[in-house]
Symmetry: C2
Subunit: 426 residues, 2 copies
């Protein structure tokens, strides 16, 4: 397909994926030295940390999605193609997309991670994931549809299967989801559905390891488990999911929970593209990179963020798959690509860990920054401030903030809408 001509001595960098890494790198590179072609399936950047609020009718998709073309309106050397990348050809220096072939000088793979069902086909078929706005919307529509269906079934057993929600995975996403769902059960849902008995609704959080928030301290994990139990979540640790057929969840301890809605937030993995050689991939399909984010055995190809696996002394199993790693790697790669052009040596990546956090609900969060451990209201304020400032776009920040204020005082953002576009035509 046609691309804008390169300036004199300008190199073309194709970036696959407009997540935190892709956006940062494109912004930093755009110059008379680099033409950037940013390729993504979607025409927007999605702010994944707040997907759980979209799924629970707390925020609109548009509040955490930002049009790529708007982000780059003032970047003269960034161009976009909204299409799917089908394969990579390092020999010919090109990638093939659904809309045609694109030649590159440098290729940067920053297409993120996908849900890891650990090979369980039933889970993949029946469980709800939450890695994209599209999946979060499906989950929202499903949760609302099941409440409506609970009004029209005839047996209590069927009704409980429609009301119970099982969240699998005790990381931040699982904790935040379970907390928000139980808040809805305690506040708004009994007002919306006066005919239902919400004592029949169970919110269950399952974690296979012995503690919640594995990436944080034991203290924070216990604090969060305490918050959740107090709000009414059944927290089960040391229990794994054996199977799920869309009607009931079988657990490793032999018990069975009737539920039509199992939300799988128990792990992510990488995924490959045709043309990436097998030795460049780790067992979980993340792409192996050196400390300069260069992909093993693929000249002039780099990988950043969740998809990249960089093994160092400090991080022998790779860095955490979070936004700060992606952003820091992208910032460094922009500098390193300039260094290559200028025949200077590249700098190796060193992760600057700024801490981690998770929220459970109104006034409740945990934050760890270095040795500092915070909980409760103050941690919750920090959580909100950090997330608000990380959202792309002033208007989105204002709208998310207004939604949060409205939510805080009413428990009711009025977004419990089952909306779906009509079927595509021509």
């Amino acid at each position: 397909m046609e691309l804008p001509a390169l300036n004199n001595q300008q190199k073309r960098v194709i970036i696959v994926g407009a997540g935190f890494a892709g956006i940062r790198l494109a912004k930093k590179l755009s110059s008379r030295y680099f033409q950037v072609i940013l390729v993504d399936k979607h025409n927007y950047h999605q702010f994944q940390p707040l997907l759980y609020q979209v799924a629970t009718s707390g925020l609109e998709p548009s509040s955490i999605s930002f049009p790529l073309r708007k982000i780059f309106q003032s970047y003269a050397h960034v161009f976009m193609r909204i299409t799917e990348v089908l394969s990579v050809d390092t020999g010919n220096h090109e990638v093939t997309t659904s809309a045609g072939t694109l030649p590159y000088d440098y290729l940067v793979l920053a297409y993120g991670a996908t849900t890891n069902y650990f090979g369980n086909a039933n889970l993949q078929k029946h469980a709800y994931a939450m890695k994209s706005v599209a999946e979060a919307l499906l989950l929202r529509n499903t949760l609302l549809r099941q409440l409506e269906d609970a009004l029209t079934v005839s047996s209590d057993e069927e009704r409980m299967a429609l009301l119970n929600v099982v969240v699998v995975g005790g990381g931040p996403t699982g904790v935040e989801l379970a907390g928000t769902l139980v808040e809805m059960k305690n506040t708004i849902l009994p007002k919306d559905y006066t005919e239902l008995n919400f004592k029949q609704m169970r919110i269950i959080l399952l974690e296979a390891s012995p503690k919640l928030l594995g990436a944080m301290s034991a203290e924070s994990g216990e604090k969060v488990a305490g918050y959740l139990k107090q709000m009414g979540v059944e927290v089960l640790t040391g229990v794994a999911v054996k199977d799920f057929d869309g009607q009931a969840v079988s657990l490793s301890d032999g018990s069975i929970i009737r539920s039509k809605c199992l939300i799988w937030a128990a792990g992510v993995k990488g995924f490959s593209l045709p043309g990436i050689p097998a030795p460049s991939l780790a067992t979980n399909e993340r792409i192996l990179v050196n400390t300069y984010n260069e992909v093993k055995d693929m000249p002039n190809v780099f990988a950043l963020g969740d998809i990249a696996l960089m093994q160092t002394d400090a991080y022998q199993r790779g860095h955490p798959q979070v936004a700060p790693v992606a952003i820091q790697q992208a910032t460094l790669l922009a500098q390193n690509l300039k260094n290559i052009l200028e025949n200077k040596p590249m700098k190796p990546f060193v992760y600057n860990d700024q801490g981690s956090m998770a929220t459970v609900g109104k006034n409740k969060a945990v934050v760890e920054i270095g040795n500092l451990k915070l909980g409760g209201f103050f941690a919750w304020l920090i959580w909100m401030a950090v997330h608000l400032m990380s959202i792309v776009g002033v208007k989105n920040r204002i709208f998310v903030f207004l939604n949060w204020v409205w939510h805080y005082f009413t428990h009711d953002p009025s977004l419990r809408l089952m909306i779906k576009p009509s079927e595509r035509k021509n």
Copy 2:
């Protein structure tokens, strides 16, 4: 399916459709005398007059949609079933839905109108309609997708077919759509798509009759046509669409316009349900009612709003299919149903016409109230105030207002997002 028990002497009213008429009637009836069962396919009320702003990425669907359960939280005698009505059985006094059968004492049909393609199957298959949030979202996604595709096709002919938009129907919807699209062409699109030449994009408004805004004065129609032409819309009156195959539009004057996007806003019609006898229907499938909104040949069944056809001396072809008629009919029917219970006579419907209006774009509108005719900035302010106050929900009003303010100053509400939920699972 199970329904809440009736109080002593309480009558059950089933209302099909949660549009302007259904909502108003349910609110007015809820009492110890009437139990209301409101049935709709969607769990939200949609504010149709602003659908065109959803389609053109100016407003979010949630800003003009309001959860039904929230509307009726404080109405103890209103209950909802989110399901599709399949048939009516006046003999047994019940309606059958996808979720089971519902018995009624009184049945009120208020399910609105549908797009009228006047029997042209090609138009039905290929043209985009705009009668629902779902259709508006499909149109938004299509308009954005076509701009992306215009970057990757190889010939100017293909590119023009992707850029050209043909709007059919010179009523308020067509006028408002054409005006908004040409504003986008003139302001935000060239910033988003620096690689495209927007001189290749045509916005064409077709109207089969000799003038725009047929329901208003010739003066207002001419004023609006002037506004549109000045902004860059090609306004063609007295020309009808003969056919559309998804690639090109054939007109009655023999000419052909290449375009993949034809928006059909040229007419609405009623539609029937199994169980409604043929003599109860007019030729355009609207339901025939007397001046009390009682359906012809269907005892204890009423019809309101767009679906009802009430022929009076003043309105021999029925009332205009607009919100004020629906709301006024619903208000009167609530009173008349109480009159029936109290053995008082019913009152006949007399339409209080409050005027009509249409906007074309920033600072441009026409308003007619009785003999008063306004245009320009002041009319535009009235248009905004009337629409803002008609939207359900304080939060929605605030969010729509903020969006409009943002839009006014930036021409860019940052909502050009192609979002679609994932495919349904269990």
